[in-house]
């Protein structure tokens, strides 16, 4: 409505001014604008109606006197509600009856809410609203229906502003619960019908960045809205540091030791991780765990949509994996313009034909990186995937079971795989016919996780179990401490006042920038 009216301003301005003038004259004492206005609206018929109301009131009083208040109320209710049904079909002659109905509602204000609602719903609609409407909404509807009998006044209305503008915290909480419930219902209607268990397989080992990576993954997994078991395989046996990290997640965890230590060479690490994943699959098979297996490496970054998508998988699915190969290492050679042009999207995943079936694979082109990749963990060079990553595959765990209902015949037995120590590159080896893989994530068009390998230098130190023990020395003193600093070690730092002043000039408040500059100085 307003859209149409808005730019007519020029046209209307004169009219508005006129109406303003008139209202300022006429509506001088319009504090109770509503009442005054409605009287005016009733116009010449006013005396007739007032007599009618008076007579009706007298009649009601008499009836209640004779029958007793409670019964007369019922009588009125039954009498007028039925006439109202008829009156809505016939025309103007019945307006008197309609008015009478209004009176019943006003005289029966002391009735219970249910009766009140009932009367009004009769008038509003031949098919009354369902009984499961609560009293409150019914009352609202009733309020609206009750208003229908009154004539809305044309003219100026007050702008109602409540004295205390702030929302009631209880109501805010209620609103949030409503939204939560609505969203839950949305998931029920449109989301996955019967959520399947998610089995997350993660190979890990104790190292500098383990806590960093595992914590990130842990928080992703905590947000998965499906039942989930996290199968963590730790190379070199389970450690307390890892266990305590996992324990804080509140997830169901299966922490499995793997006898071999993690090698420092990337190629060997890759092979070891594959064997660790296979180990996890054997555990799943032994325990007959039922669900969808997701290979979540600790350093990968997962979209939550991935966990919705994997619910769709029937036997084996594949998703697109984005590869974060261009880590900004300082001594990484700059790519030539030509290389940049030829560089395909760094994505690994399934490719579909027009009918949505698997047609082939997008693989990551590692040619531009030839000879520039890291061989040892912690080396300052890009780390690339070898072949198709496990992280891009999703399995129904029943594919591993010895016997499962409807298990397709194009699946190999797990025992026949990797027994002779041959390297398992990816789960496709489990299949006789890789063309049965189901592409997920809008036919692989959506990237549902990012593959990233970042490790600290092999010789870097890291605190065990997130605890700094023994406490570190103070490297940079707090500059504005109220007490004098007289410690011997600190004086050496303070001598370097030139640097300090410079730092202070750069940023008086930003302590982190100053401390960074100090660390750099130390390294030099």
């Amino acid at each position: 409505m307003m859209k149409s009216l808005l730019p007519q301003s020029q046209l209307r301005r004169s009219a508005a001014a006129a109406s303003a003038a008139r209202s300022s004259g006429g509506g001088a004492g319009s504090g109770g604008a509503d009442g005054a206005g409605s009287d005016g609206g009733a116009g010449g018929r006013a005396p007739a109606t007032s007599t009618f109301w008076f007579l009706l009131h007298a009649l009601c009083c008499l009836v209640s006197l004779f029958l007793g208040f409670r019964f007369s109320r019922l009588l009125f209710f039954l009498l007028f509600s039925t006439t109202a049904l008829y009156s809505s079909t016939s025309s103007s002659s019945s307006s008197a009856v309609l008015r009478a109905t209004t009176t019943t509602t006003t005289t029966t204000t002391t009735t219970t809410t249910t009766t009140n609602t009932f009367t009004l719903s009769f008038q509003a609609n031949p098919n009354p609203p369902p009984s499961n409407l609560s009293n409150h909404t019914a009352l609202d509807a009733a309020g609206a229906a009750g208003h229908t009998q009154s004539h809305v006044v044309v003219g100026r209305h007050g702008i109602r502003i409540r004295p205390w503008p702030h929302p009631d915290p209880v109501e805010v909480m209620r609103a949030h619960r409503i939204m939560e419930r609505v969203q839950e219902e949305q998931r029920r209607w449109y989301g996955v019908k019967e959520p399947r268990h998610v089995l997350v397989v993660t190979p890990t080992y104790s190292r500098a960045f383990q806590a960093l990576h595992l914590t990130g993954l842990l928080h992703s997994l905590r947000n998965v809205p499906y039942p989930l078991t996290w199968i963590v395989v730790e190379a070199g046996g389970t450690t307390n540091a890892t266990a305590s990290l996992l324990a804080r997640s509140d997830l169901t965890i299966v922490h499995i030791p793997f006898p071999d230590r993690m090698p420092h060479d990337w190629a060997d690490r890759h092979a070891t991780e594959n064997r660790m994943r296979l180990h996890a699959l054997r555990v799943i098979r032994e325990r007959k765990m039922d669900g969808v297996i997701v290979f979540a490496d600790d350093s990968n970054v997962h979209s939550l949509e991935l966990f919705d998508e994997v619910q769709k998988v029937q036997w084996m699915g594949a998703v697109s994996v984005g590869i974060l190969a261009h880590t900004g290492t300082a001594d990484q050679p700059r790519l030539s313009e030509e290389d940049k042009q030829n560089m395909p999207l760094p994505v690994q995943g399934p490719a579909c034909n027009s009918s949505g079936h698997l047609a082939g694979w997008h693989t990551f082109n590692s040619l531009p990186f030839a000879g520039k990749t890291a061989t040892v963990v912690g080396e300052a060079a890009p780390v690339l995937p070898r072949g198709l990553e496990w992280a891009g595959f999703v399995l129904n765990s029943r594919i591993l079971w010895k016997e499962a209902e409807g298990k397709p015949d194009w699946v190999k037995d797990l025992d026949a795989v990797g027994e002779n120590g041959e390297e398992i590159e990816n789960p496709l080896i489990l299949l006789n016919d890789p063309s049965s893989v189901e592409p997920l994530g809008n036919c692989g068009k959506k990237i549902l996780l990012w593959w990233l390998r970042v490790e600290a230098r092999a010789d870097s130190k890291f605190p065990q179990g997130w605890v700094i023990e023994p406490p570190l020395d103070i490297v940079v003193p707090a500059k504005r401490t109220p007490w004098p600093e007289t410690t011997a070690e600190l004086s050496a730092e303070l001598v370097d006042s030139k640097q300090d002043q410079e730092g202070r000039r750069l940023s008086r408040t930003d302590r982190s920038s100053r401390s960074r500059s100090t660390t750099k100085r130390k390294e030099n």
Partner: protein, 417 residues
């Protein structure tokens, strides 16, 4: 004591009867719900075979030429009059034999007169309408037979056939006297209002269906906005002192809830307007200058529960759509309590409203798609007309009887168009 028992028995019987009658049934699939007897069934009626409509062949200056002069008429919210004409021309209910027609339709585009900024002006409408009626009354015998009682007109302007956008002026004018006996198909609906006469069919305003379709987002996108509204709160140019526009209700919404985190309300129209409605639980549909606005259509189409703040509003196809059950009605004086009212609706009721809104027939009835589809607003108009059949005795005048006063109304309206 016996009186009491009797009374209670009667009451109980009545309650049982009504609960039984509206025994609501049952989800269709998982998501939608329909109510037997009212919404679902009536909305799915097929009007074909139940009525025949004769479309008067008027000179193109009453319709096509106007449109040619200003094609923008196809896009504003009163465009229903043009699309209804096009729909009827190719509809199965159209008859070329006026003798067998139940209804007569006069294709006259009274709102297709736009300002340079694209807004419809109603000033010529009365004269145009009068001229068209004079034409059909002289060229065909059917108008004089009933003086319009078996004719229907689409008058989608702000205040329908009162032909003025200012309420006070519109009330002063009243419905065009020549249309006294005709059936009006109009967007305006307010009870006890001179611009809404008995028997009118209230229709939704036109909202571009393709555009809305293009902005659909997946239905599982979580609804994370509690209350959503975009539009004016004050119309300072037309209502500088405030309190006239929207009877103060919109201003009240703003003043009370502008800082409330549950209320996503503002005056600017973002490009994601349609998407945001699909991410909201409640969408405010307050009155503006007139009680209705396209928000009503948008809310229903986008599955956002409409919060209707317009006392005495008559909603589109109210005889077929259970508005009490899909929407929330808040009295204008209760706007300061809006947050309490909305948060105290039980969740089950909210979920039921959403299930009803998810019913595709409800959405379909709000739209004027091109080409027409079964159950859309065109079909609902025809259903409404079909439900008025057969015509009552008072429709046809006795020989020599005259009901219309051809010289009534403002002098300006009597000038030739």
């Amino acid at each position: 004591m016996r009186r009491w028992v009797l009374a209670i028995a009667i009451l109980a019987a009545a309650v049982c009867f009504f609960l039984g009658a509206q025994a609501q049934e049952v989800r269709q699939g998982h998501q939608t719900e329909r109510i037997s007897g009212s919404a679902g069934d009536v909305l799915e009626d097929d009007p074909v075979g139940r009525l025949k409509v004769y479309v008067y062949d008027l000179p193109s200056k009453y319709n096509k030429k106007l449109l040619k002069k200003d094609p923008r008429c196809l896009n504003h919210m009163f465009a229903a009059e043009i699309f209804m004409h096009r729909f009827l021309l190719s509809s199965a209910v159209r008859t070329f034999n006026p003798e067998e027609a139940d209804w007569f339709y006069t294709p006259v585009y009274t709102t297709c007169d736009l300002t340079p900024s694209g807004l419809p002006l109603p000033f010529k409408s009365p004269r145009m309408m009068r001229s068209a009626i004079e034409l059909i009354a002289t060229n065909w015998p059917y108008w004089n037979r009933s003086e319009g009682a078996d004719h229907f007109f689409v008058t989608p302007h702000d205040f329908g056939a009162c032909f003025h956008y200012q309420e006070e002026k519109a009330i002063g004018r009243g419905i065009l006297p020549l249309l006294q006996r005709a059936t009006l198909v109009q967007t305006f609906g307010q009870k006890n209002h001179v611009c809404l006469k008995d028997g009118s069919i209230t229709i939704p305003p036109y909202a571009p269906p393709q555009k809305m379709q293009a902005h659909l987002i997946p239905p599982d996108t979580p609804r994370s906005i509690f209350v959503y509204f975009r539009g004016l709160f004050y119309d300072t140019s037309n209502d500088p002192e405030g309190g006239y526009y929207a009877r103060g209700a919109r201003a009240s919404v703003w003043e009370n809830f502008k800082n409330n985190p549950l209320f996503d309300i503002s005056t600017d129209h973002p490009p994601t307007y349609y998407e945001d409605m699909q991410r909201s639980v409640f969408c405010l549909c307050p009155l503006g200058w007139a009680p209705w606005s396209p928000r009503l259509v948008e809310a229903v189409v986008f599955g956002c529960i409409p919060v209707i703040i317009a006392d005495d509003i008559v909603l589109p196809f109210a005889d077929a759509i259970p508005w009490e059950e899909i929407g929330v009605f808040v009295a204008e004086e209760d706007v300061p309590k809006l947050d309490s009212i909305l948060t105290s609706i039980p969740t089950d009721v909210i979920l039921r409203k959403q299930r009803l809104l998810a019913n595709p027939s409800m959405k379909q009835a709000m739209l004027f798609p091109q080409p027409a589809q079964a159950g859309d607003a065109f079909h609902q108009i025809l259903n409404g007309l079909a439900r008025k059949l057969p015509h009552g005795e008072n429709v046809f005048l006795k020989p020599g009887e005259r009901a219309l006063n051809w010289t009534a109304g403002p002098v300006g309206d009597l000038k030739p168009w």
